[in-house]
């Protein structure tokens, strides 16, 4: 499949390039835009792998929701990159060390994959047999909602707890804030909202209701 290889190199090259530009870009908004391009091309790689459901979910969740919030925050905050870069040289060695550890780990994982072919075959056997009748989506659904449904529910509970925690930490009831109550507005009628008063010429009503 020459076409697949061509598209693989295209997507991979753009992903790597835009990943690099995310770090190099001077303007934070440009960095986020490059990040979006990287996500998008990663989705393209997923499609090439035959995981079209994952690809679409990647675009919907990461590009469509998470990156929009990223862009939002970066646009709203006036990030001062000069001060952020001030300690670059001082922290460069730590950063390089973290990067090196990650690189070594990646190489080790890839090496076991390539060298220990047996373990890969064992891993593939555990996955549901890719019967041609079952689509990608269906296979994922069976795995998540049937085989591992308790784990799935547990993950959902953890996310729920995290969400409630975030709300508890940030929710404040301010005093003196007038909120709109649509039902109260709709329930008003002339009888309760209007008071007709008969004033003699020259007479005024004070806010207290007293006539003068």
């Amino acid at each position: 499949m020459a076409l697949t290889a061509l598209f693989f190199y295209l997507f991979a090259a753009v992903t790597v390039m835009s990943g690099l530009l995310v770090i190099v870009a001077r303007n934070p908004v440009h960095a986020v835009l490059w990040l979006i391009l990287a996500f998008f091309n990663a989705a393209g790689l997923f499609v090439l792998l035959g995981a079209e459901f994952l690809a679409m979910i990647l675009v919907v969740v990461y590009v469509g929701a998470v990156a929009v919030l990223f862009l939002f925050v970066v646009m709203m905050l006036d990030v001062d990159f000069a001060s952020l870069r001030a300690g670059f040289i001082r922290h460069a060695s730590v950063g390089a060390l973290v990067g090196l550890v990650l690189l070594v780990e990646l190489i080790m994982v890839l090496a076991t994959r390539v060298i220990g072919g047996a373990s890969v075959a064992a891993g593939a056997a555990k996955a549901p047999a890719a019967a041609p009748a079952i689509t990608n989506t269906e296979a994922l659904g069976r795995l998540l909602y049937t085989q591992y449904v308790y784990f799935f529910q547990a993950a959902g509970l953890i996310l729920l707890v995290a969400m409630i925690g975030a709300i508890v930490l940030t929710l404040r009831h301010k005093e003196g804030v007038r909120r709109q109550s649509i039902s109260a507005q709709n329930a008003r009628n002339p009888a309760t909202a209007i008071e007709i008063v008969n004033l003699a010429p020259g007479q005024v009503i004070m806010p207290s209701g007293e006539r003068r």
Partner: protein, 352 residues
């Protein structure tokens, strides 16, 4: 129609030629149809307000959209001095290209689709969720207050209503049991009508069985495409023209084109999910003889007419009302319906 096995370079060439030809055909007919739908939008709006609308260019003003196109293309594009030039020019392109890309998976007739993806609905959802970037980029790159405010409003609005659109789509998918757009249409051949012993008709389509979701989807589609009464991103009484303030000439044209393509895409999605796609409304030999794409076009035009009527009749929402409607009304309603529909399908033994 398309070759599925690739052995020689000839197969690749044939596949490429057929795909490019089909895409071009779809795109050109789509753009011509949109030119007339744009005119219809203005004519309906005018008729509601007892005006004549555009009636100078061509008979009944039929060529108005083409005259507008020429005007936009021939004008001078102005790029503000403080603008981020690259992003500024990229934004309208992103909007238009993404809006047009959505049409790759929309079946206009039985088997008449560029790419019959088995995750077609998700693809549409993904592409429409990317639409917000054109607006955000345009608003930010203009380096001006009103466009920025418009872009922020638009992003918040589109993200909010995407949630309810997603849930509505899930209820339809539960009923259909497939993510394929063609399968969604063909599953509507049978439904409430046929289960009552009637012949195939418009009563089988999803709009009847999922009527509340149909209404929620229609309103969310208005909000998602920034149509009135939810056109706050470009509210001309507050923000001049929102994120498009600094745009002129062809970039403006591209923004507007992208917006209208997105609207027609939403009309097509409504047609496919709720109004039976290319299926004829009643089972009669004369009506069955009319080809499917014609029915599809008629239904899309009908939904677009409803969009135009809403624009003409409903006053604009306030921003907090818009957010309240999205998060406090539509989200709980559509989420409850997902649970209810799933429960009925499961316990009623109706799941596909």
């Amino acid at each position: 129609m398309f070759p599925t096995t690739f052995e020689t370079w000839w197969d690749y060439a044939l596949w490429l030629a057929l795909t490019v030809g089909a895409s071009l055909l779809l795109m050109v007919s789509l753009l011509v149809i949109i030119a007339f739908l744009l005119l219809m939008d203005r004519k309906v709006w005018a008729a509601v307000q007892l005006r004549r609308g555009p009636n100078v260019v061509g008979p009944f003003g039929l060529l108005q959209s083409f005259a507008d196109l020429l005007k936009f293309v021939l004008k001078e594009p102005v790029i503000p001095a403080g603008a981020d030039k690259g992003v500024f020019l990229l934004a309208p392109l992103v909007t238009t290209v993404l809006a047009l890309a959505a049409w790759a998976v929309i079946p206009v007739g039985s088997g008449l689709v560029i790419s019959d993806l088995n995750v077609g609905v998700l693809y549409l959802l993904a592409i429409s969720s990317l639409g917000v970037y054109g607006i955000l980029m345009g608003g930010w790159a203009s380096n001006s207050k009103y466009p920025f405010l418009g872009a922020l409003r638009s992003a918040a609005q589109m993200v909010s209503y995407e949630v309810s659109i997603g849930f509505v789509i899930i209820t339809v998918l539960l009923l259909v049991g497939s993510l394929n757009m063609s399968a969604i249409v063909t599953s509507q051949q049978t439904g409430i009508g046929t289960s009552l012993g009637l012949p195939n008709s418009f009563l089988d389509w999803n709009w009847l069985v999922l009527f509340p979701m149909f209404v929620v989807f229609f309103i969310s589609a208005l909000a998602e495409t920034n149509r009135p009464p939810f056109d706050l991103p470009e509210a001309e009484s507050e923000l001049v023209a929102g994120f498009m303030v600094e745009y002129s000439s062809t970039p403006y044209l591209l923004f507007m084109l992208g917006e209208y393509v997105a609207i027609v895409t939403m009309c097509a999605l409504t047609t496919i999910m709720f109004l039976g796609g290319w299926l004829p409304p009643i089972d009669h030999w004369l009506i069955n003889w009319v080809p499917g794409p014609i029915w599809f076009l008629l239904k899309v035009t009908f939904v677009f007419f409803m969009f135009a009527m809403v624009k003409a009749m409903v006053p604009r929402y306030r921003y907090d009302q818009l957010m309240r409607l999205g998060w406090k009304v539509f989200l709980p309603l559509s989420l409850t319906m997902v649970v209810v529909v799933a429960a009925i399908l499961h316990f009623g033994g109706l799941a596909p």
